[in-house]
Amino acid sequence: MNDQEDAEELLKQSKNQRRHTTDAPAKKDRDGSESVELADAVAEVLGEIDQGDTPSNLTLRDGDLAALFAGLERSGDLDRIVQEAHDALDRDGAPDSLTRATALRLLVRVGLAEIDPSVIDAAIEGKQRYLTDQASNF
């Protein structure tokens, strides 16, 4: 389509905007650039965590999950779950530990990777950027 045809199409779309279906466009910085990428955000927050400006813990309150993990410990199944999560992430060696906390760390990553693998990739990239920046400050 040429520019005029594109303009006509955009004009036509204008009147089809509805409040309940219109998402505000991604916030733009003053120079018009899009919001920060995930990898940059991860790198930034890693720095904040190191500085103590952002907490390093994740917390959630969920009675069902609490009961499940307590049950896994009592039934002896937690070790297996940890190992399988470790394997699912293609990690070398053995899990750091066979605790509830390790299980949660690994399982969150497994879940994210299933939903959107690019999120994990961005996190890895962000960490690499942060470590590289730290090394350059030597």
Partner: protein, 292 residues
């Protein structure tokens, strides 16, 4: 029991076009009626080229006032487009887009109707940088409307949103609707404070202020209504306009797609005649203010 209502007229005069916006915080008090009648009076009594812009929701009451409801049902070029990020591209590639937005009426005014896209446009304005968010309509008026018209009247929605703020920024002079009662007085004071805040927040770059008052649907047969009008004129001697009497003719003619000015004298009750004359005088006072 309502004894009378006051309409809000926001006025700004630029070098090339006079601007006014009706703004009232509630519906059913004749805001659109006043916009339509003042516009027609400005054309017929003063020979001005007048454009009415309806930004007050999607019912298109202003178009209905002129019998254009069917014509504007699916606008070819919606006014909501000017608030989008693609407007400049559209404008560059469709030179007659503003002409396509505009409808002629039988009573001499031109009209840009509202469209359903305005609700989405209000949403997307939230992501526009603050320094530009409320100036889009002002730019449109200056660039596209000022060269073509002598007077532009905007009918704004009753709830404050990004579209309304665009209208207030574009016109700067605001008149608060009042009806008898302390609540309405408080409403006026609150709005004055809000407008002062805009002036402060923009360091005086934009200075919306309470301006003209038009009491409407006034039933002067009641002492309370008479007192209300007298109080208004005493408290706001330089801003209170002639009161518009309540008249069945107004709603009857609206149903036919006409204003009081399109009716023959023998079609009008005495209240209709007085209402028409009152709108004439209100328009005269408005234009005097605009030309100061």
């Amino acid at each position: 029991m309502y004894l009378g209502y006051v309409y809000c007229i926001c006025i700004q005069m630029t070098d090339t076009v006079m601007r006014a916006a009706t703004y009232v915080g509630k519906g059913g008090v004749g805001k659109t009626t006043s916009t339509a009648h003042i516009g027609v009076a400005a054309v017929q009594d003063h020979g001005l080229d007048v454009l009415l812009i309806d930004l007050a929701g999607t019912q298109n009451d202003l178009a209905a006032s002129f019998g254009l409801l069917e014509d504007v049902d699916d606008p070819d070029a919606p006014i909501s487009a000017i608030f989008g990020e693609n407007w400049e591209f559209i404008r560059e590639n469709i030179p007659d887009v503003v002409d396509r937005m505009t409808f002629s009426t039988d009573e001499g005014v031109d009209l840009i109707p509202s469209d359903v896209g305005l609700s989405g446009a209000d949403n997307t304005l939230a992501s526009v940088p603050l320094e530009r968010r409320y100036r889009i309509l002002d730019e449109f008026i200056s660039n596209e409307i000022a060269p073509r018209y002598d007077l532009v009247l905007m009918d704004l929605p009753g709830n404050e949103n990004n579209i309304v703020l665009n209208g207030l920024f574009a016109t700067e002079n605001t008149i608060v609707p009042l009806k008898p009662g302390e609540f309405e007085r408080n409403q006026l004071q609150n709005l004055e404070r809000d407008l002062e805040a805009i002036t402060e927040d923009t360091n005086g770059d934009v200075s919306p202020r309470v301006s003209m008052l038009i009491p409407t649907m006034v039933d002067l047969r009641t002492n309370q209504a008479e007192e209300f009008v007298q109080e208004l004129q005493a408290d706001y001697p330089d801003r209170a306009c002639e009161s518009i009497p309540v008249s069945q003719n107004v709603s009857d003619l609206q149903g036919e797609g006409r204003t009081l000015f399109a009716a023959a004298d023998d079609e009008l009750y005495s209240t209709g005649e007085r209402a028409r004359e009152a709108y004439r005088q209100a328009t005269e006072k408005l234009l005097q203010k605009l030309r100061q």
